[in-house]
Symmetry: C2
Subunit: 216 residues, 2 copies
């Protein structure tokens, strides 16, 4: 049942236009949200809009890993207890948050800020590959190797498993392999608790090929 | 799978707080929306927030029917081709939009701005019943009756069918019945295309009691 676009007020219709520009918000939900905001005390609505403006206007990114941060260097990069010779390469800020939430990773990150996608007009120079290569070069420099007692450095390519993710991983691999850094990627296979019956063939196939020693 | 609340930036966490205060938006969706806004050009985000601020700060309500309006008197109340002796009483702005979208109603409206609800602390004086009574009194004044050739006036109670709606309807009825105005309420019954099998007993029962002459 579609709503005909017959708004009683220009202000309302402009607010609905703005809200429905958000991903996953249709015009009907946008109208519901606009009317909700209209019923709120004025200071709540100002708080709402200023929180969003502040985020967009004042946000900063870590100089090292390009993660969102309130400081020049983010909390992860400035944590000396973390392993700074392991860099996990991700597409977005959200990926960092997801991996941090697992509590399983103690290295640092590199946020590309996108993925190579010819269809969407995103080339290698549009995402932060150059900065990654320079970080790898630093890690493998004679000074860094001396300081770390020649401890191995590793780049984990934690990109999505689709064509664009694979393309980006491959491109990055070619850029950094010559530095002698170890390059790994995320394990792929059935999820924990997944039923064989419902797994797609590609995932199940890879799960068999990459099977692991059973450790009860 | 719950997100642990571990935001890399205070600005981000404040924006997520603000966005997740909207009804039906969880913290996970709020994070997705905040990161989306972060990727938009700054002027788009300013346009977004200012459309919402404008709506809340500059919105006006029709002096007659309390509908949202850009003018002192809304487009419906200022339309002389509409029947100003038929007033449809609704809870909210959205109800007016829904009824207008049917294209079946040519009278005017009265937006209560709420419904009597002792549980939520909303009493008769918190919604615009007094203003409705005064409009009815005007409609039934000797001058208005003379001007309209004593044409009948009608108040349609288009409130929801739950206890609060029924209570409000009954309260309004008692306030305006003495003016001799005709009072009606929305027809209730099975929806068009509804299957008897799936109708609730109350609705089906009322549908039988209020059955109508078959007009093929």
């Amino acid at each position: 049942m579609a709503y005909k676009e017959n708004y009683p007020s220009k202000l309302l219709s402009e607010a609905v236009d703005a809200i429905s520009s958000l991903p996953g918000v249709g015009r009907r939900s946008a109208l519901r949200l606009a009317l909700h905001l209209l019923k709120q005390p004025q200071e709540n609505v100002h708080h709402f809009t200023s929180a969003i403006s502040h985020l967009r206007d004042d946000v900063r990114y870590c100089r090292e890993c390009m993660m969102i941060s309130d400081e020049d260097i983010c909390a992860i990069c400035s944590d000396r207890t973390r392993d700074h010779r392991t860099i996990c390469v991700v597409e977005s800020v959200r990926d960092v948050m997801s991996i941090e939430n697992t509590g399983q990773y103690r290295g640092v990150y590199h946020v590309l800020g996108g993925i190579i996608s010819p269809i969407n007009g995103v080339g290698p120079s549009d995402i932060r590959i150059r900065e990654l290569v320079s970080r790898v070069a630093d890690l493998m420099s004679p000074e860094a190797l001396f300081e770390s007692d020649a401890r191995e450095a590793e780049v984990i390519l934690a990109l999505s498993g689709d064509v664009e993710g694979e393309t980006t991983s491959f491109y990055i691999y070619r850029q950094i392999a010559s530095y002698g850094v170890k390059v790994s990627s995320l394990a792929r296979g059935l999820g924990f608790g997944d039923d064989l019956e419902y797994a797609d063939e590609l995932t199940l196939g890879r799960s068999i090929v990459n099977r692991q020693i059973f450790k009860p």
